[in-house]
Every structure is written in structure tokens, then in C-alpha cells.
């Protein structure tokens, strides 16, 4: 078997300059082409894990490693990780007033192409229009300022639009489903599925609280994070059990260890 797309070993992390550990020894492998769901109670460290994978400077990794396509990425800057193929769809995307989506995304696309090989405005516009159609977004959206005044659902859809345009090898989707209405959820889920079909090696780490999205995007594995560790892993049926029983049984199990 070839090396995993993403391999996390014994990862410990805390907020830079503070004491308490948030991630307390995370182990996780995602193979190429797999969809992994990551669930777990509020505050258990899911977003922290996502941001540490993407290289957020607020966190300090105190132990462990993150290998992406076999390479250690901990020393890489967030932009280098992005260009290497890691994509994070934010739980709370930042607003960038005055910068249009089109302009921002074209800059991001060109940042990963060599000098002199940049995409021209028209070529880019075609790609963008196509992806926006796939996500049933109004064409006028491209001219809007990034996340500025967007509704919660619009922000989430915009994150998936970026993933579709940037075509990463790994997509970490942090609660992309929350805040989406039922129709939007279906559109976004089918968008992600289309990306998986177009690129069979695409790996997805899907952070969610709800089983609902897993009806559309079928996970190969489901993990539960508790207090900074993966406390339980299983097949898709684990999500059903969590939906039915909540986290109590896991709390007890964790406490018993």
C-alpha cells in the first residue's frame, strides 16, 4: 500500500504562549480517495486540528507529526501547505472587504502556477463560471467582496467554491454543513461529490455535528474526537449510533480509561 495522503501521529498542540493542551495525542490516517468524518462535542478540538493541519500561527505543535503525501508539513507556512494541496474550508471564514471573489481566487490560482504560466482573465473566468454553476451560485456573486456581508450559508458555499476552483488533494471541511438550508446542503454535498468523481484521489476530512450531511457524502470512516484525542473510530454506522445515543457512552468510556 502506498503512503497515506494524510498521516497524523501523536499530535499535541496548544495555543501559542499558553499552557493547556488542546490536542492531546491525535492519530489519524486518510488514504487517497477516502472520505473521513470527524465528529465530537463542542470544544473537543476539531477546529483546532483543522487549523493546525493548515498551519495556523496561533497554535504551537508540542509533539507529534503531520505527514502530507509523505512529507512533514509542520515546518511549512500556511501558503506553502495550500500550494502543496491542503485546503481548509473554514468554520468561520474571514471577511476581506474591498476584494472581489473573482480577484481573490484568480490571485490564489495564479499563486500556484509558475511565473509566466498564470491563467489569463478569460480562462479563469470560464473556470469560475463553471464552478459557480455547479454550486448554483448567482453569477453576480463573483463580483462581491469576499465574505463581506454574506449570510452564513453563503459563506459556506463560497468555501466550497474555492475548493472547487483550487482543486486540492485534501479538503478539510470544518462544519461546512452547519448553517445551510436543506436545498443548499444538497447542492454543496453534490458539489463535493462531483469533485471526488473528477479527482478519484481526493481525500476529504469532514468535520460535522450532524449525520444529515453523511447521507449525501458517504464516509469511509467516522471518528469521534473527545478532549483532544480520537476516542473512537468506525464505519458509517458509528454516525448513526452517535445520532441515536449522543456522546454520553463515550464520555463514560473515556473516563474509564
Amino acid at each position: 500500500m502506498s503512503e497515506p495522503l494524510l498521516s497524523i501521529r501523536g499530535l499535541r498542540a496548544k495555543v501559542d504562549g499558553e499552557d493547556g493542551e488542546i490536542l492531546r495525542g491525535v492519530d489519524l490516517d486518510v488514504q487517497r480517495g477516502e472520505v473521513h468524518a470527524l465528529m465530537g462535542p463542542n470544544g473537543s478540538g476539531k477546529s483546532t486540528l483543522a487549523k493546525v493541519i493548515a498551519g495556523h500561527p496561533a497554535y504551537e505543535v508540542t509533539a507529534g507529526e503531520i505527514l502530507f503525501e509523505g512529507e512533514d508539513v509542520l515546518e511549512l507556512e500556511p501558503d506553502e501547505r495550500s500550494r502543496a494541496g491542503i485546503f481548509l474550508a473554514f468554520q468561520y471564514p474571514a471577511e476581506i472587504p474591498g476584494v472581489s471573489i473573482a480577484n481573490f481566487l484568480r490571485t490564489a490560482v495564479n499563486a500556484r502556477l509558475g511565473e509566466g504560466e498564470e491563467m489569463d482573465v478569460f480562462g479563469f473566468q470560464r473556470t469560475l463560471t463553471e464552478k459557480m454553476e455547479m454550486l448554483k451560485m448567482d453569477p453576480g456573486f463573483a463580483a462581491r467582496y469576499v465574505n463581506d456581508g454574506f449570510s452564513g450559508g453563503e459563506k459556506k458555499r463560497n468555501e466550497i467554491l474555492q475548493m472547487a476552483v483550487l482543486r486540492p488533494a485534501l479538503g478539510v471541511l470544518d462544519e461546512t454543513d452547519s448553517g445551510l438550508d436543506i436545498d443548499a446542503l444538497k447542492i454543496v454535498a453534490s458539489g463535493v461529490n462531483r469533485l471526488s468523481e473528477a479527482d478519484e484521489a481526493l481525500g476529504v476530512l469532514l468535520i460535522t455535528h450532524y449525520k444529515r450531511i453523511l447521507n449525501y457524502i458517504r464516509p469511509d470512516r467516522v471518528h469521534v474526537m473527545m478532549a483532544g484525542r480520537i476516542a473512537e473510530s468506525g464505519g458509517a454506522s458509528l454516525a448513526d449510533k452517535l445520532e441515536a445515543e449522543g456522546y454520553d457512552w463515550l464520555h463514560r468510556a473515556v473516563a474509564a480509561v
Binding site: D79, R81, L88, I96, G98, V99, F104, A111, R112
Partner: protein
Amino acid sequence: MPRNETITELGLDEYKYGFVTEDQPVFKAVPGLSEDIVRQISHHKEEPDWMLEFRLKALEVYYSKPMPKWGGDLSKLEDTLDEIYFYLKPQDQMERSWDDVPQEIKDTFEKLGIPEAERKALAGVGAQYESEMVYHSLKEQWEEQGVIFESIEDGLAKHPELFRQYFSTVVPTHDNKFAALNSAVWSGGSFVYIPKGVKVEIPLQAYFRVNAERMGQFERTLIICEEGAEAHYIEGCTAPVYSTDSFHSGVIEIVVKKGARFRYTTIQNWSNNMYNLVTQRALVHEEAKMEWLDGNLGSKLTMKYPSCYLVGERAHGEILSIAYAGDGQHQDTGGKVIHAAPNTTSQITSKSISKGLGRSSYRGLCKVYDGAEGAKSNVECDALLLDETSRTDTYPYIEIDENTASIGHEATVSKVGDEQLFYLMSRGLDEAEAMAMIVRGFIEPVAKELPLEYAIELNRLIELEMEGSVG
């Protein structure tokens, strides 16, 4: 300073060109200001007597007024004023060679991708032939419409009555110390006249006109936009103005007649030793509209508050400004709107960016006179700090003598946030690019009002400034 050699040779030049008369000693520019210098300036420009008298009176006013105590730090300015040359003949100004231009300025031209031929012109070491040709063909077009677009000197010489009718009516000599100084020693600038009902499509660009005489330290511009006329005037350009001068004090006067529309755009990027103190004012008549678009980069201290005196009913004034204060720079900018007639409206939008030890201040005045019923004014000033050390402050002055007036004021200060930077970087932009994108977005509401090529150049320039690589 390369200047000094030029100066010592000056005596000979004077003789050669026959400027010497019985009662006039050979002209020798000496540093500092005196009545003699003022007489020399007027004499060299072959001005009418009234202008000489005007200048001399202005000099007295200048001496009588104290240095302003507000705004930026002017404590070292007096020393600077003792050292500068208040007047140099145009041909002397040109006698600087490309070799004298500092390397960092050359590098900036290179980075901005300014064509070879233009670089020399911008550095003040050569004429700008291409532009000159463009200018001449445009000039013919304008002349057919009766538009006058001349140097201020030619304006006075060729259109003496028109000139005298308006000159110094918008910014009187005693308005402030630096207006008085400018009135005494002004040299260079534009004279523009747009006849009644004429709409000038292509912006009048001083950039085309200024090549024989480089922009003066004491530039003076007078613009008259007649009833129902429309025009856009653009002053300066975004490339750094390389100058060995350390003081620039201009006066811009604009009259916008009934129902006319006028826009004045300046983007200036001064070298870092410069005190830049400019008085820009427009008199806006009934139903007329005046817009100032003002970009300030560089300089040690800039004090500049474009103003609109709304003197006719339903007159509208608008001031949009962008300031960038890098290390060691203080941009004290803003705007003034004076509502002196009913139903007048105004809008001030100010955007400032500060970095390192830079400081930007917004200073604005909104005055509504008694009787200016239904006047409306709105001020919006936003400051962006790029780091922990930069600084910004706001000084809004509001004086309202009319109780039906409605005034809005909104000020925001923001820091480039870590979350914004991380968001952009997580999409593959490196840190510098991400920072530049945030700044571009911040100034976008004002920059989008600029002609495209200016907006692009402004953005590039701010990026270069942010890299700290511009001298």
C-alpha cells in the same frame, strides 16, 4: 547638492540672456527668503506691476503670521526654510543629470515598469517627448472648444483680465501662513478655463503639460469652470517625485459655477524629507458639484485638507482621500466642507494606512452657517494599521449654526487581523501578497473612482512602500 554648481554659474547665464538692466543687479539665487528674491521672481517672469505688488504684500502677511501650532510638527521647518532656494529659473532646474538621481529612485522606476524615456522626465532630467506630442494634439482639440489649459505664467501673460478677475479670490493671501508664502513666491502650476456648457471628455492632465518646467515647490493653480461645464483635472503622477527640495507648498484655487461639475485628482508621492503643505479650495456655486480625489504618499509631513465652500443653493462637495504613512512619515490630511447656502450637501471619505513608525491623522472641518437650511454632510474616515507600532488619530471639528442641518460622522480604526492574513495565506498567497490584498481592498472604495491606470499604479506603489523598498 548638484544645485550649487548650477547656482554659481547663474550670473553668467543672466548676462548671456540679457536679463540684466540698469537698476537690477545680476540675479544670484541665495538661500532663504527676502523682498529681493520676490522682486527677482516677478521680474524674471516679466509680470505686470499689480502682481509684483501682490507678491510683496503677501510676503508681509507671511512674515506677520506665526507658524501654525496644530497639525504636524513644524518646529524644524524654520531651519529648512532658511536653506532652501525660493526660486530657480526653469532652465536651471533641468540641469541635473540622470547620474545624480539616487539609485533607489531608479530602482522604483524599474519596479513600476515606467518606460525608459519617461523615467528621465519624472526624475526631472529630461523632457517627455511622447507626452508632449499627445498633449499637443489634445490641446488643439481643447482650443476648438475654447478651453484654456496653460501654465500659470502663460495664463497671466495671455489672459490677464480673466486671470486677475479670479486670482486669489478663493484662497486669499491672508488665509494662512503658507498661502501667504505661496502668494509671495509662487512659480509653476496650471491655469485652466472651461467655457460655459463645455464638457471636456478627456481628463486634463498636468502630467502632459509639465515637462519644460518641472512642478515647482510653490506651485499655483487657478481653475475656472463656467456654468454648466464639466471637466476632470489630474495633477501629479504616482511615480515618486524625485526632488532635492525639502519643502512644497502649493495653492490650488477652483471656481465651479452654476450647474457645473468639476473633479480634481491628485496623487502625490514625495521623497521622505519633504514638508508638503498645500491649500486646495473650491468655491462651489448653485447646483454645481465639486469632487476632490486626493492621494498622499511619502513626505516627512503632509498637511492637506482639500475644501469645498458651498456657496450656492444645492451645491455638492465631495472629498475622497487616501493617505499612506510609512516609517517616519506623518500624513495629516482630511477635508473641509463649508455649507453657506440652503440644501447644500457634502461627503468626505478618508482612508489612511499606517505602517511602522508612520502616523496618519484625519483632520476635518464641517461648518454649517445659519440659514443653510437642510444642509447635509456625511463624514466617513477609516484607518488601517498594518502593525502594532503605527498610529492614527482623528480630529473632526463640527460647527453648526443651523438647526435643520443633518451631519453624520463615522470613524473606524482597524488592524490587519491575523485571521484575515491566515485566511488568504491558506489559499496560497504568501504573507506579503496577502497583506497587499487586504490593503488594496481597504482603499478600493476610493481607488475605484480613479482612472484605471492610476488605480493600478497606486496599488503597485503602495505594495512597494509596504515592502519598504521605496526610497
